[in-house]
Subunit: 435 residues, 2 copies
C-alpha cells in the first residue's frame, strides 16, 4: 500500500520576519513518522488569512495529511480558524463543547472567561474537536479536499501534546489491520567529531542498504540515527506490541560496538539524566564547583526531576576570592598556576568535596571568552577535576565556538567526565578497590 504523505504548516508572522524558527514541526514530524506518514514538506506562513488559506489549499492537492500549528489563540492576529473555514468552504460556528473545554482549562488556572477568549471556541462547522490536555485553545480536524487536516495551537508543548494524542489515535482507527511506522533508533556520542563518527559507521552503511543513516552535530555531541520504514500486518495477538525488528536491532548493535568509547546515551536521554541515574543507583551525592560554566552544570543537573536526592549543592566561584573562601583554594596556588590550571581545578574539586561532605566533587575552570585568552591559555581552554571515592582525576580540554557554545561544550564534557569516572572505576560507594 502506498505510504501516506504529510505537509506541516507552521503559522505565525514571527516565523517569517521575527527571527523565530519553527521548532514545533520537529516533534510533529516524529509523531507522523511513528504513524507511518512521511513528511514531504514543511511550510511557514504569516498570520494572514489569504496566505494561510492558499497554503492549506496548495498542500491539500499534494499531501494526504496536513497538520497546522499556530494562530489559534484569542488575540486579533490569530486567524487560522477563519482561513481554514474559507479553505474548506464552511462557516465558523461557536461549539459549546469547545467553549466548555476553554472554561474548564481557565478554571484550573483561576482565571475567568473574557469575551475575547470565546473566539477559541469557534470552528468550521462539523469539524471534529481535538481536546487540548495542557492549554486553553482546543484544536480541530476535518477534510480539505481529500486531505485530512489537523489544526493545532502554536504553543510548543500544547502542539506536541495534542499531536501525540490525536494523530496516532486517528490513524489507529483508520488502519486497524496493520501498523505502519518509521522504525528509528538514535545513539548519542560526545568527544568525537562528525567526520570521525561517519568514518567509524561507514562500513555499516554499506552492510545495511535498506537502512537510512543520519548524523547530527551539536554542542551536545554527534547523534547518529538509523531508520527504516516498515509496514506490519497485525494479528489480534500483537495489536498492542511492536514486533521485534532483527535487522534494525542488528544495525544498532554494530553501531554501538563501533562507537562504544564515545557513546553516552540512546534515544532522547540527556547526559544529565545518565549521570543522575548513575549517581542515584550507587547512592552517591554530588557537588559542583564551577567557574567558566557559571552555574550551567548545576542548572542542567537540576533540570532532572528528583535530582535533589543526589545534587547537594553547587558553587559558582566566579571570583578568585570566592574560590579561596568557599573552596579553600590557596592564594599561592592561584598565583603560581593561574585560575585556569589543572592545579586549581584539582584544589576546587577537593575543596568542594571536603567542605560539603559529598561523595563526588566536580570542578570546572576555564576561559569562556570572547576576551581573557592568551597564547598559552587560549579562549576555550578548560580544566576539570573530580575528587571522589575512587580517587582524583584532572583533565584539560580545548573547546571552540562562542562564549555560549564553549560554556555548553564544557558542561557536556564535565558531566561526561563524571559518567566515565563512575563507570571506569566501577565498584560501589565505599569500595575504592579500583581507585
Amino acid at each position: 500500500m502506498k505510504r501516506l504523505t504529510a505537509h506541516i504548516i507552521a503559522i505565525g508572522s514571527e516565523l517569517l520576519h521575527g527571527g523565530r524558527i519553527d521548532s514545533n514541526s520537529v516533534g510533529i514530524a516524529e509523531v507522523l513518522a511513528q504513524s507511518g506518514i512521511e513528511v514531504k514538506q514543511k511550510v511557514a506562513v504569516g498570520d494572514h488569512e489569504l496566505d494561510i488559506c492558499t497554503a492549506v489549499l496548495s498542500s491539500a492537492t499534494q499531501a494526504d495529511v496536513i497538520v497546522t500549528t499556530g494562530g489559534l489563540g484569542s488575540t486579533l492576529d490569530d486567524c487560522t480558524r477563519e482561513a481554514v473555514a474559507a479553505a474548506c468552504g464552511r462557516t465558523l460556528v461557536m461549539r459549546t463543547q469547545a467553549l466548555r473545554m476553554v472554561q474548564a482549562h481557565l478554571k484550573t488556572r483561576n482565571r475567568v472567561l473574557t469575551p475575547v477568549m470565546t473566539r477559541q471556541a469557534f470552528m468550521p462547522s462539523r469539524a471534529f474537536i481535538l481536546e487540548n490536555p495542557v492549554g486553553t485553545a482546543p484544536g480541530f480536524s476535518l477534510k480539505v479536499g481529500k486531505a485530512q487536516l489537523f489544526v493545532l495551537p502554536g504553543v510548543p508543548r500544547e502542539a506536541l501534546a495534542m499531536a501525540q494524542v490525536h494523530i496516532p489515535l486517528y490513524f489507529a482507527k483508520k488502519y486497524r489491520r496493520e501498523r505502519r511506522g518509521l522504525w528509528s533508533h538514535s545513539l548519542n556520542t560526545v568527544g568525537i567529531s562528525e567526520t570521525e563518527v561517519q568514518g567509524h559507521v561507514m562500513p555499516l552503511i554499506k552492510r545495511y542498504p535498506s537502512m537510512q543513516f543520519s548524523f547530527l552535530a551539536s554542542t551536545s555531541g554527534v547523534k547518529v540515527t538509523v531508520s527504516c520504514w516498515r509496514v506490519q500486518e497485525l494479528n489480534k495477538s500483537d495489536s498492542k506490541n511492536i514486533r521485534p525488528f532483527p535487522e534494525g536491532e542488528g544495525a544498532v548493535r554494530n553501531i554501538r560496538a563501533a562507537l562504544a568509547p564515545w557513546l553516552y546515551s540512546e534515544g532522547e536521554e540527556r547526559m544529565e539524566e545518565v549521570v543522575g541515574k548513575l549517581l542515584a543507583s550507587r547512592s552517591l551525592t554530588l557537588a559542583v564547583a564551577e567557574s567558566c560554566t557559571g552555574g550551567l552544570v548545576a542548572h542542567r543537573l537540576t533540570e532532572v526531576p528528583g535530582s535533589s536526592i543526589y545534587v547537594d549543592r553547587g558553587i559558582v566561584s566566579y571570583s578568585n576570592r570566592a574560590k579561596q573562601q568557599l573552596l579553600g583554594v590557596r592564594s599561592l596556588t592561584l598565583k603560581q598556576y593561574g585560575a585556569v590550571s589543572l592545579q586549581v581545578a584539582h584544589a576546587m574539586a577537593k575543596g568542594i568535596r571536603k567542605r560539603s561532605r559529598v561523595d563526588v566533587g566536580l570542578s570546572l575552570t576555564g576561559i569562556a571568552g570572547p576576551s581573557g585568552g592568551s597564547l598559552e591559555k587560549p579562549v576555550g581552554m578548560v580544566c576539570m577535576a573530580i575528587d571522589g571515592p575512587y580517587g582524583t582525576e584532572a583533565r584539560q580540554f580545548q573547546f571552540w565556538g562562542n562564549r555560549s557554545e564553549i560554556k555548553f561544550r564544557s558542561s557536556q564534557a564535565g558531566l561526561d567526565f563524571v559518567r566515565r569516572y563512575l563507570l571506569d572505576r566501577g565498584g560501589k560507594k565505599g569500595d575504592p578497590a579500583h581507585g
Copy 2:
C-alpha cells in the same frame, strides 16, 4: 508600487526527519526585507527531484522572488540543479566559468578537483552564475515563469554571504531610484500576560493603521513588535543614509509609555544584559543564592561577556544543609517556615550578601515540580529576596508550566526583581537615601 513578495525554499531531507531545523532562511529573510521584499512563505523539502521541482513551480505561481538553499553540493543526494532545470524546462550544461570558480576555491584550500566535484559546475542553460565568496559551490539565478529564482548552497555561512552579496545587487540594479525596506522595532515585557499587553496596546493599533503590531509570548515574557514597509525615493545625497521615520518612532514612544511598568528592554537585548549594565554602571557587585532555579540565574548572568566584573559568585544551595552551612540560614527558620518561604528567602539573601561581601544579594527558593507541591505550597510557588544597599525586599510568585519552564520563569522574574530594585531605589552605591 506593489510590494514584491518572496518564498524561501530550504532543501534537505534532514530538515524533514533528522530533527534539524532550517535556520538559513532567517538571514535570507532579513536580506530580502532590507531590499523591500516581503517573505510570504518558507518551505522545507527533502532531497527529491520531484518534490523540489513541485515546490519551485508552486512558489513561482505565488511569489515574485524565490530563494532556494541547499542541495548544490557534490554528493549523490544533492539534486537541486536537476530539479530546477526540470522546473524551468532547460537542460543542465557544464559552465566553464563556474568550473573555474570551483577550481579556484579548491586551490585556496590546497585541494584538487575530483571528477565528482565537476557536478558543481553544471547549471540550467543561460542561468546567471552567482559567485560563492566563501565556499566551493557557485549558485545561479534565472527566471521561472514570472518569478526570479536565486539558487544558493545549503552551508549556512555560504548561503548567507551569497544572499548578502547577490540579492541587494540584483534589486539595486532593478530599482535605481528608490529604497524599499521593512522598518521594525521590538519591546520586551515581563510580568504581564499576552492578553493584558494587547489590551494596553489596542488603542494604538487603531491610531496607527499603517503599522503592523505583533505579540509573542514565551517564558521570557511578551514581546511586542511594531513594523511597517517603507519605500523612500532617493536623492543622490541620501543614497547611503536611511532617513528618520517619525511615524514609527511615535508609535514606539506610545507603546513604551503604555507598557512602561513591565518593559525591561528593546530589540534583542536580554534581561541578563540589562541587569548586567545596571550593575556595571553603578559599580555594584552581585551574588546569587539559588535553590529551585539550580544555577540557572548564575548561568544566565555569566552568559554575558565581561560579567566577571559584577558577578562575584553563585551558590546553589539545593539541600537544607547547604542553606545552613553556606548561607547561615538557621535550622529553626527552616523548620518553622519551611525551605520555600519568604522568611528563608530573606535569610538566604542576607546570608549570601554578608558572607560574600557583595553589594547585592539575590535569593530564590521554590518548588519547581513535578512533585513536592502541597495545597498550601503548590508546584510553581517561588519566594525571592534581595538584600542590598537600598534595603531588603522579598516577594512571592506563582508560576505555571513544567519543571523547566518554572525554572526559567523564576530566573526571569528574579533578574527583573534585581532590575526593579536598582531602578526604583535609584541613587548610587553607598547612597541609600531612597531605601
